[in-house]
Symmetry: C2
Subunit: 337 residues, 2 copies
DNA sequence: CTGAAAGCGCTTACAG
DNA sequence: CTGAAAGCGCTTACAG
């Protein structure tokens, strides 16, 4: 029914080997043969079967991407970068939404292994021992995005979270703020939690300010938790003039809390976020924040993975530069009005 | 190196046929044989090769999903629903970001065809003649999501855009507004453009209000265009008290314009959006909008596609119910204060 | 420049 | 209950 390479060969009066060579741009056939074959392909509407090809060459030109959650701006911007780069290199991407569920992750790993993906990208997820055990025998390259590990077999691509948080706090201090507070992401999160608190702390100390436990509240990176965290901070401590939130969503949640309670941003309270997702520019006043180049992170990670796949060698990890995007939520206290 | 079914068979002293039967849960082997085989599999760390299997059974348990743009809340919520449902049915999903580019779409179609996907989902894209020509010989089911066609071979899953827009306008009218305006999406867009303007128009007429061209401005669904559209409306026509925006992003853009120009929402201007993406609940004041159940749209579409794949029959299209989510951007004019 | 044949790792009648 | 063998649609030495 659907024509195969065999049918094409028959029609063009050549062997399948010749058709295969032409299809793959190899050498070893006359121009006349090539024309014959090409027109047979055209006439029959032949399309090669990549599954058969993959079985032979043991390459599927497909990578698997595991996300803890797919439906937020952060993930989708990364996915965009990954897909774009992969497509430009002729790779397809299989998306897997693990829902932060270890069991789902393990099942996906199984599926991806059986489907013979050429490589794997772990987004925003730390490599559990269990995953490593499953990954090892798969013998395919793995790259982490917006995550980190010290196992050299698994390179990662991310922003320097500690430094970015340090810079955010310094920015606030540079604007004359001395009464800082922080809305952290999930307590103990080894990637986007602890390092950002640590960077914030170091910035305070570097400027002779004291780090006060009651001036750190913990959320979960999502919008809803931002308001609750600000409420906690305001209850626990008086005199705060600026807060650093470890995600834009939490920053916006905090801004809403402020707005509902008649606290003016930035006049009475300054806020700086983290991520620079589109949301940051959509609210009023627009949010000053730390830019994570998500598209670039995705592209770079896909690039590293594909390099590893195609060269068989391992590549170094990479810190992508961040920067602060100044908008309108931080008051400059050094200017007297 | 990596064990195959052959190695397992050898180790367990049975034929590959028997191993295959056990692997696939067929009948025709003793319990003793089963144990022998299972422990051989265990010992060797054998994992079946789905590519080889696919070549045989000509099913890949993979579907392709084409998006015009992947990095926005709308697409990612749909993707979430699609991926979730597909995964629950043991299908994997290959994402393709067409960037609203016909050439890219055609190339993806080619790749997906070669990779032998079992079915295709078109998200927010109309089926061009060119696509249909490429789709036809692929002989796999196709379902449209948040889009529409009258070709019965391609079922679709969407909200009734005309009716939803009608309801949005009626909601405004029900709140006592008579001076309505609309921020439409892309002019002439056959799915999310024209039908929404038409629904809005019909609602006006049904209530004895006149539809005035100068009270419709066109954006492109995205944030940036919302502000410009509101500016245009306000310049073209005096006395507007309420506006219906054909997307939440444009509604928020309009709210920002209002805020920057000292126009209070909802006291001086009411706004209703369309989509109910998370953004709608994150801004201040929170946006009243038309809810499109995106997760459900995605799930339903994936369900229909998989049904078509597995039964070989075609399924009917489906309109998913929408509803209005009342928040705080529409003033009730029927209440005297 | 070209073809016959083995093989990629499975599944599935068919025969016993 | 079990196995030998053909076949899925390709690629790739090998030989000429």
């Amino acid at each position: 029914m659907i024509p195969t390479i065999r049918d094409v060969a028959k029609k063009a009066n050549v062997s399948v080997a010749t058709v295969s060579r032409i299809l793959n741009g190899l050498t070893g056939y006359s121009d006349k043969t090539k024309q014959k074959v090409l027109s047979a392909i055209e006439e029959m509407g032949y399309h090669p079967n990549a599954v058969a090809r993959s079985l032979n060459i043991r390459r599927t030109q497909t990578i698997g991407v595991l996300f803890p959650a797919v439906s937020n701006e952060f993930s989708s911007a990364l996915l965009h970068g990954i897909e774009e780069y992969a497509h430009s290199c002729n790779y397809s991407v299989l998306v897997c939404n693990t829902s932060v569920d270890g069991n789902r992750t393990m099942r996906y790993l199984q599926v991806l292994r059986e489907k013979q993906v050429d490589g794997l990208l772990f987004v925003s997820e730390t490599l559990q021992e269990e995953y490593i055990k499953a990954l090892e025998p798969m013998r395919v390259p793995v790259v982490l995005v917006a995550s980190e590990t010290d196992d050299p077999r698994y390179p990662f691509v991310k922003v320097d979270d500690r430094k970015a948080a340090y810079d955010a706090a310094c920015y606030l201090i540079g604007k004359g703020h001395t009464e800082l507070a922080m809305i952290s992401g999930t307590r103990g999160d080894p990637i986007a939690g602890t390092p950002r608190v640590e960077g914030y702390r170091q910035a305070l100390l570097a400027h002779g300010l004291s780090f006060r436990e009651e001036r750190v509240a913990y959320g979960d990176f999502f919008y809803e938790s931002g308001a609750a965290a600000l409420e906690t901070l305001l209850k626990q401590s008086k005199g705060i003039t600026a807060v650093f939130a470890a995600s834009d969503e939490m920053a916006v949640g905090a801004m809403n809390y402020a707005s509902r309670h008649g606290i003016h941003v930035p006049e009475e309270l300054s806020i700086i976020g983290y991520d620079n997702i589109r949301l940051a520019g959509m609210i009023h006043p627009p949010l000053t924040t730390v830019n994570q180049p998500l598209l670039e992170l995705g592209q770079t990670a896909a690039g590293k993975l594909i390099t590893m796949i195609e060269t068989g060698s391992t590549v170094p990890s990479r810190m992508i530069p961040h920067h602060i995007v100044e908008r309108q939520t931080v008051r400059d206290m050094t200017i007297r009005i």
